[in-house]
Amino acid sequence: MFYRLLSVVRRQRTGRGWQNWSSGRSGASAAEAHSVALPAQAQVVICGGGIMGTSVAYHLSKMGWKDIVLLEQGRLAAGSTRFCAGILSTARHLTIEQKMADYSNKLYHQLEQETGIQTGYIRTGSVFLAQTQDRLISLKRINSRLNVIGIPSEIISPKKVAELHPLLNVHDLVGAMHVPEDAVVSSADVALALASAASQNGVQIYDRTSILHVMVKKGQVTGVETDKGQIECQYFVNCAGQWAYELGLSNEEPVSIPLHACEHFYLLTRPLETPLRSNTPTIVDADGRIYIRNWQGGILSGGFEKNPKPIFTEGKNQLEIQNLQEDWDHFEPLLSSLLRRMPDLETLEILKLVNCPETFTPDMRCIMGESPSVQGYFVLAGMNSAGLSFGGGAGRYLAEWMVHGYPSENIWELDLKRFGALQSSRTFLRHRVMEVMPLLYDLKVPRWDFQTGRQLRTSPLYDRLDAQGARWMEKHGFERPKYFVPPDKDLLALEQSKTFYKPDWFDIVESEVKCCKEAVCVIDMSSFTKFEITSTGDQALEVLQYLFSNDLDVPVGHIVHTGMLNQGGGYENDCSIARLGKRSFFMISPTDQQVHCWAWLKKHMPEDSNLLLEDVTWKYTALNLIGPRAVDVLSELSYAPMTPDHFPSLFCKEMSVGYANGIRVMSMTHTGEPGFMLYIPIEYALHVYNEVMSVGQKYGIRNAGYYALRSLRIEKFFAFWGQDLNTLTTPLECGRESRVKLEKGMDFIGRDALLQQKQNGVYKRLTMFILDDHDTDLDLWPWWGEPIYRNGQYAGKTTSSAYSYTLERHVCLGFVHNFSEDTGEEQVVTTDFINRGEYEIDIAGHRFQAKAKLYPVTSLFTHKRRKDDVELSDLHGK
């Protein structure tokens, strides 16, 4: 393939499309561009002439930004883009990824017409095979989500598969998914076409120009230093693919872009005797770990093996990817798998085994967005070998982000800020990508935890909890207990525990939940992000009042649930703030907000030496005492009355617990259950934990984990940022009007948008669904992302779900939209609209009836407390 691509590159060089490139620059051809002096300044400098860089340039120039320079260290489309297998597949696990791929598909489809450059686009469709029932479930889930965003796809029988592809052995299949509009395309040509279109729009492209480092002043990009001179610029876009990590590190203040390359192999054959038709569908046999597409009458087949070979860990790297060494022995399992799938290929002659490194990220999602530390430094890289599929859409979202300040979709799942410096170790990346690459074709089941790169951040109680049977999950590098396995109980081995049905820990979590309801449990929640904001005068209050949507001018000792909104009124962060003093505030945010929230605050806080923002996450161990007897445990340990009369709900006080002083006790539990959060200076953590456990014994105390917490919060309709809430959801859309100071006449970010929304009504509404005819033991469990149907019409998707042990039903949270039946346009969603619908949740193609609720089930709040009314209407939550 690359032979052909090379010739294409050459042909394009001399061809018509190419010459237009440097129009306006004295007619010098782009091939000689390196001898041409670089411009002294530009608005945007894009690094990387692969599909990502050209796509960003294309979209920026389409959106009206003209002063753009694209630099490529080698030749255009010469990195992974050149060797890419050229399969465009929309069947992705995340909706945002599906949307990106769908947009790319549409873009590439018309690109040839737009630019006159042949892209080799052929709509072949693709077929995803299932060898097991579990795989079929996974495909069905993707299928229902594809359908609701308008991508046609269907689940088909093995027989139908055989009709679609003449060579397939279908005897071991249980079914398949057919996505008819998927395509194959030459990625290098797409990149060239995008580059050519961009260049016609005024983008200047220079190849053979390497960026040495990016110049930054006062946390703002000021220019780039290249081997051919400097360019001043306001924006820098790092689309350097597998070089992105090194380029990020080359900065004086490094930008951490966690990605790592692995070798990736695919096979090219000569044409079959009766050459395969060019519209023969692409086959993905994930259980066999391979993909197969038609290629010039023969086939192209590669895969994602179990034992990947990471490369370039030391960072030594080539300008363009030379053809790396082939490794037939390494490819053998994939070859065997191919011949099992297509036995007739035995006599097909091999042309070449191609080794083309691909980059992978620590969580199998691509990386885009602005650096948290350097303003104007944007990144788009780490495509986990789906660069072609994502290229168009990802480039568009990034361009929107740069031009408008935010993308038109919620891309938090892909945001660079989900990572911090803690994911930037080479060792970590090397180990993690060895797990990630096979995972591309592994079965993706709910509640999967990465096994590599663990035990990085831990609470001081880690060993104690571990010894008591804790099972761990990881968030932002922090180990958090999922649940505690009692000594007499054994769980399934990791591999066997993968299921879409009722998991093996069901009973364990049930007893933990029960203990929270009836006695008292302790959960180590140290991973939460904790900031302190203090000032010498009133600056802290002033700035927070502007940044946060709820009124923070409360008496000292009170806790406020609030959020930081963007201009559109969407949640940038959802948090609780305790007013420790007149001039100091303690802010608790979700774990993965550590980088994002810090960046947001830094960006919006004035430069004022009297205003201090400090990340104190590491300073405190957080213990959550949940349950009706928490009061007793705490009063016995502190000799202070803890009853609601003395310690009302949503109250914070520094007090001593056991021998330890200075413990911040807060009367909230993030679950709606009675209890307390203790923020303990870490050196006291073990002491306080030991005291709590020993005193708590007579009240029936036990350890609990996040699964119990999750069940408790979801059954009470507590939404969580990053799952249910994101930058595109406003407080009004999730019934949190009471958490917004709209009436108080104070300005805050997002106020205008909210006022407008209040006037016009909301277009989506967070709703709680209780599954009715769902058999917990036998039916598939909901996860998230399941389509919601209202009166048989698609109305939205779920965002999270949990089994409620109290209601003995599954509870899902999700947004209900009101799509017009005729136009599909979004219309206002009213309470009435929600209440008057019959709802169904589609789990892998099976629809379950569900009751919709806009308010939590009141019977769950068994323990009447003073602020009950507030809590109920306030739906406070984390």
Binding site: L267, T269, W328, D329, F331, E332, L335, S336, L338, L339, L345, E346, T347, L348, E349, I350, L351, K352, T427, H431, M434, D449, Q451, T452, G453, R454, Q455, D463, D466, A467, G469, A470, R471, W472, E474, L494
Partner: protein, 531 residues
């Protein structure tokens, strides 16, 4: 190692019975007899104290996949075959040379090297570097004894001496000019290192000063073209050894440097190095490292051409040299128990000033207030020490004009040669070449179809070829320690040898360092054809 023992007993091979000296006798005889009684039945003897040395790379991998202590599998005491491979391959390095050196076809195709430690820390060193101011690629094996200081120093410095010796008058003048005007020097060497190799300190200032004195002397010789290779090697060896010896005698300001030079001088190292330039192969050897050439005759038969002679008591030429160099009265004492003065196995080595200096000089140097205890230096005058020096670093230099039938060169420390004969080594490398190539799909030569390829690959898999050593040096080491007394490969034995606790490993095997250099028959042919 028991620290009260004189250092030279360390200079042992696993096969030779262990020399025992007063004080050490009891301890060692017990070990030796134990070993003889229960030869290679090591499992029961290895204390289950967890001191099993699991290789670090493997620990890292296990750690990477470990997420909680309770879910963790039992830590394996037995090494799996894969772990064995990881231990063996940790020291691997391989390098493919460029086809052309400044337009001339390169006679060296590629080389592969590996090292397995028995001493802790390892006392062998290796070096591979190309001369930047003259043509030629150098390969060296340095086997230290009595510590690694001397081997380290020689591995760092010897190639510089050789490279400088080979420089033309003009280059030397440039170097000298640069030094005088404090400008950056011309690069002398390009090292090709294994990442795990101890870091070569770039010539420290003192060393550079001495190197400079050396090239100044060479300048004074006014030889336009520099020394010929043979002379260069001879001079370099002896010059470096004498510099090592003089550095410690000269008063040095810096305590660090002083202590280091003392350690270097009072430990020793044998050295064997090859210099390849086109078809000209020179091998210089001092001590009992060895270099052999694997030759394939036109009829396809393989044979071995040794390029060095071991300088030890089994070498009659060395015996007669020693007898010649010392009075007749010492005939019976100069070699005792096959050891030089009863203490040292090799008869030539760098360092080891105890066997080079007069007693008086040794005393006067050591009395300058070195903390010999802390520096691990043992002042020991062997019996019958009358007419030093007994030891020399003068190398024996062999020249060989490479022919197309010369396929590879093996350089290795005595840890390998103690257990494998020259023919064994050639056979193993030849087998290696055959196996790596066997069923090796070569699409360029012969197009293959998918089914054929699959069956080839499956065959390779079944025979374990795909997992077999890619590196001939690794294969040699594997066989050196894993072959039983019947010449068969015994996996249990291999595992046992690799899991020996650090302090016992040296009883059963020596440090092994191997470098295999493959020649490019085509370019050698071209040399002959092109004249």
């Amino acid at each position: 190692m028991s620290s009260t023992l004189p250092f030279w007993i360390l200079k042992n091979s696993a096969r030779n019975s262990i020399a025992t000296l007063q004080g050490g006798r009891r301890f060692y005889s017990r070990c030796a007899s134990n070993r003889n009684k229960a030869r290679w039945r090591l499992f029961s003897q290895v204390p289950g104290s967890g001191k099993i040395s699991v290789p670090c790379s493997d620990v890292a991998l296990q750690k990477a996949y470990r997420h909680t202590s309770t879910e963790e599998d039992d830590f394996q005491l037995q090494l799996s075959p894969q772990q064995v491979n990881e231990v063996l391959r940790a020291g691997e390095s391989a390098h493919k040379t460029l086809d052309l050196v400044s337009g001339v076809p390169n006679s060296v195709l590629r080389f592969e090297s590996n090292q397995l430690a028995a001493n802790s820390p390892v006392e062998d060193r290796r070096g591979i570097a190309s001369c930047l101011q003259t043509n030629g690629l150098m390969f060296g094996i340095f086997d230290g004894h009595g510590g690694h200081a001397c081997a380290q120093a020689v591995s760092e410095r010897l190639f510089y001496y050789v490279a400088v010796s080979l420089m033309s008058q003009q280059t030397l003048e440039q170097m000298e000019g640069a030094m005088e005007s404090m400008k950056p020097l011309l690069p002398i060497l390009h090292w090709l290192k294994h990442p795990g190799d101890s870091i070569y300190k770039d010539v420290t200032s003192v060393h550079l000063d001495h190197l400079r004195v050396y090239w100044q002397e060479l300048l004074d010789l006014h030889m336009e073209m520099g020394l010929n290779i043979k002379e260069a090697l001879m001079h370099s060896f002896q010059r470096l050894d004498s510099d090592i010896s003089l550095e410690v005698q000269a008063p040095l300001e810096d305590e660090m440097t002083r202590n280091l030079s003392l350690q270097v001088a009072f430990s020793g190292a044998t050295a064997c190095m090859a210099h390849v330039d086109g078809v000209h192969l020179h091998v210089a050897n001092a001590g009992d490292c060895r270099a052999i050439l694997g030759v394939q005759e036109d009829n396809g038969m393989w044979s071995c051409l040794p390029l060095t002679c071991d300088h030890n008591a089994w070498n009659p030429a060395e015996l007669s040299r020693l007898k010649r160099e010392h009075p007749e009265s010492e005939d019976r004492t100069v070699i005792v128990d096959h050891r030089l003065l009863g203490v040292l196995m090799p008869c030539r080595a760098f360092g080891d000033v105890q066997l080079k200096w007069s007693k008086e000089l040794q005393h006067s140097v050591l009395e300058r207030g070195f903390d010999t205890e802390a520096l691990n230096i043992y002042q020991f005058t062997p019996p019958h020490y009358y007419t030093p020096p007994y030891l020399t670093a003068e190398p024996e230099v062999t020249y060989h004009r490479l022919r197309p039938q010369d396929k590879f060169l093996v350089l290795a420390s005595d840890g390998l040669w103690d257990v494998l004969g020259n023919e064994d080594v050639v056979r193993l490398v030849v087998e290696h070449l055959a196996e790596v190539g066997r069923h090796k799909p070569d699409l360029a030569r012969r197009p293959a179809h998918l089914g054929l390829m699959q069956s080839l690959l499956l065959q390779r898999k079944a025979q374990g070829l795909h997992a077999a050593d890619q590196n001939a040096a690794t294969r040699l080491i594997r066989h050196a320690i894993g072959t039983n007394e019947y010449g068969e490969m015994e996996p249990e034995r291999l595992t046992a040898m690799l899991t020996l606790p650090e302090d016992l490993a040296r009883m059963y095997r020596d440090d092994i360092t191997v470098t295999v250099v493959y020649f490019n028959a085509d370019s050698i042919d071209a040399y002959y054809k092109g004249g």
